[in-house]
Amino acid sequence: MESITNSIQGVPLNHYILFCAILFSIGVMGVLIRRNAIVIFMSVELMLNAVNLLLTAFSVHHGDASGQVFVFFVMALAAAEVAVGLAIIVMIYRNTSSTDINVLNRLKW
């Protein structure tokens, strides 16, 4: 374990911020350019994961465990959101009784 954790010694905190910002922006881009509801939703999960990693990095940086505890709450939220979101998608599928993905693609904003 020592040797693994030693390998991050020397990585500046800024590179973590940068890395998570890039991941987050990729998620944002995914939400904006895709039309399939499920892929949009996956991009949102990507955003949440970028936040989780950044929280952990900050928590290690400050030597304060509360950041890692916050990650639990984000994960609880992610689980709840996934359940509700996929239920909504299943409901729409039931309502239209078709496997036609154009129903989900008709979203416009």
Binding site: V44, L55, D64, V74, G85, R94, N95, L107
Partner: protein
């Protein structure tokens, strides 16, 4: 704390009542439970206003949170009074709807009294997740389905921004506690740039939830697609709660002068955009519900004034404005529900001749429209007045002039429905207004007028 426990237990009790097929008892039990919770809220009332935070700094029940919780509970009470026979027409699972509304209310009370960003996050999410569900409860209605999906995706997206903002605030200050963050700002000589990015991203996240322009694009479709009762809940109670959260974060943690120089211009831009877009698009609407949806965007603009002119008077200004807006909107939505149910359509033409056939309905709707437009002697005027004096005291003259011009535009489209009711004749039958609706209409109208005539008794509360 008792309030949160009472309401969440009440939600579970209602769920069990549904299990045992006690459909008749659902609404009375819910209403009685809300009254009990309202009584318990005032337990935290403290005249000296020096309450301590509880649960290692997680919650702080001061007069501010008591006032906003009470407002949320009272308006939920009024909205639920309108729900008699409403859910039954949608589906058989009535108990679950009451349960989820009560869960949403729990989240709202948490975000009115948080003192730690983790509580803010969890409260907002309890509220939003419940609202995604409530938007989609008309399972066979395509508009409701699409509204639920859209609201869900946009809500999850905005949660991402809010979370990133919270993370950056944590990264700079090393704590989620509001007081600790304030201490960080006060003690550090140079505030870390990621703290500014965090403020910006939190503003974006919260504005998404409140529906301020340019993050408003989901509101019209969602408000129109959702069942009218849920729209009433979303555009009144939820908006108020998000603003309570906004105000608390900015007032406790981010109110130092150097930080204000950073975020006040951002909010000025957001407020003027909200006013402009909300009012201009509301003028062109032909349907009452959609008009209310767009005008709610402009009300967010007015509410942002209190943040721009942040001072100790801001909380009573926001409270008064939110109370006036909530009560008037409840009347408007109640009238909308009556018309929608019996005519089936909510375009302005369907309000023609209502003044002769339903004098009570027309009168109360007129007063609510006057209040929303901000005509003197109604609550809405006092709310706008306090917002504008606050903005003028911090020398935002141009913004205030712009807002007054927008308020004049607002008068135009709010009075359209009044004109339709009184001055356009149409052959129509009298609409049956149920007793529950009458109670809500009369009580809310009285409240509007009383606040408008004696604003002191509510403005001095906090």
């Amino acid at each position: 704390m008792d309030v949160i426990i009472t309401i969440s237990l009440l939600a579970i009790l209602v769920l069990y009542l549904g299990l045992f097929k006690a459909a008749k008892a659902l609404l009375p039990v819910t209403l009685v439970g809300l009254l009990v919770a309202l009584g318990l809220t005032f337990n935290h009332w403290d005249l000296a206003n020096n309450t301590k935070s509880i649960f290692s700094g997680m919650l702080l029940f001061n007069n501010f949170s008591v006032a906003f919780s009470a407002l949320a509970i009272i308006s939920t009470f009024l909205i639920l009074m309108l729900s008699k026979d409403y859910f039954e027409r949608i589906s058989a699972n009535v108990a679950e709807y009451y349960t989820i509304i009560l869960f949403a209310l729990t989240g709202i009370i948490i975000i009115a009294s948080y003192h730690n960003l983790s509580m803010l996050f969890i409260g907002i999410e309890i509220m939003s997740v419940s609202l995604y569900i409530l938007t989609g409860i008309k399972k066979r209605d395509y508009a409701s389905n699409e509204a639920a999906l859209k609201y869900f995706l946009m809500g999850a997206f905005s949660t991402g921004f809010l979370l990133f903002g919270i993370t950056l605030l944590y990264g700079a200050s090393g704590s989620f506690d509001l007081t600790e963050i304030r201490n960080y700002v006060a003690s550090s000589e140079e505030i870390s740039p990621i703290f500014y990015a965090g403020i910006l991203l939190s503003i974006i996240g919260l504005c998404f939830k409140a529906g301020a322009a340019p993050f408003h694009f989901w509101t019209p479709d969602v408000y129109e697609g959702a069942p009218t009762l849920i729209t009433a809940f979303m555009s009144t109670v939820v908006k108020t709660a998000v603003f309570a959260a906004f105000l608390r974060l900015f007032y406790i943690s981010l109110s130092s002068v150097t930080l204000q120089e950073f975020w006040v211009p951002v909010l000025v831009v957001l407020a003027s955009l909200s006013l402009l877009i909300g009012n201009i698009t509301a003028v062109y609407q032909q349907h009452f519900k959609r008009m209310l949806a767009y005008s709610s965007i402009s009300h967010v603009g007015y509410l942002l004034f209190a943040l721009i002119a942040l001072s100790s008077a801001s909380d009573s200004a926001v409270f008064l404005y939110a109370a006036a807006y909530t009560i008037a909107s409840i009347i408007a939505f109640a009238a909308l529900m009556v018309v929608q149910k019996q005519v089936g359509n909510d375009s302005f033409d369907n309000f023609n001749g209502l003044g002769r056939k339903n004098p009570l309905l027309a009168l109360t709707l007129t007063i609510s429209m006057l209040s929303l437009a901000g005509i003197p002697l109604t609550a809405g005027f006092i709310g706008k007045f306090m917002m504008f004096t606050g903005a003028l005291s911090t020398y935002h003259t141009a913004l205030t002039v712009f807002a007054v011009l927008n308020a004049i535009v607002g008068v135009f489209y709010y009075l359209r429905v009044v004109v339709a009711m009184y001055f356009k004749d149409a052959e129509r039958n009298e609409l049956a207004v149920p007793v529950y609706f009458k109670i809500v209409l009369v009580v809310s109208t009285l409240a509007t007028i009383i606040i408008g005539v004696y604003p002191g008794f509510i403005a001095d509360l906090i």
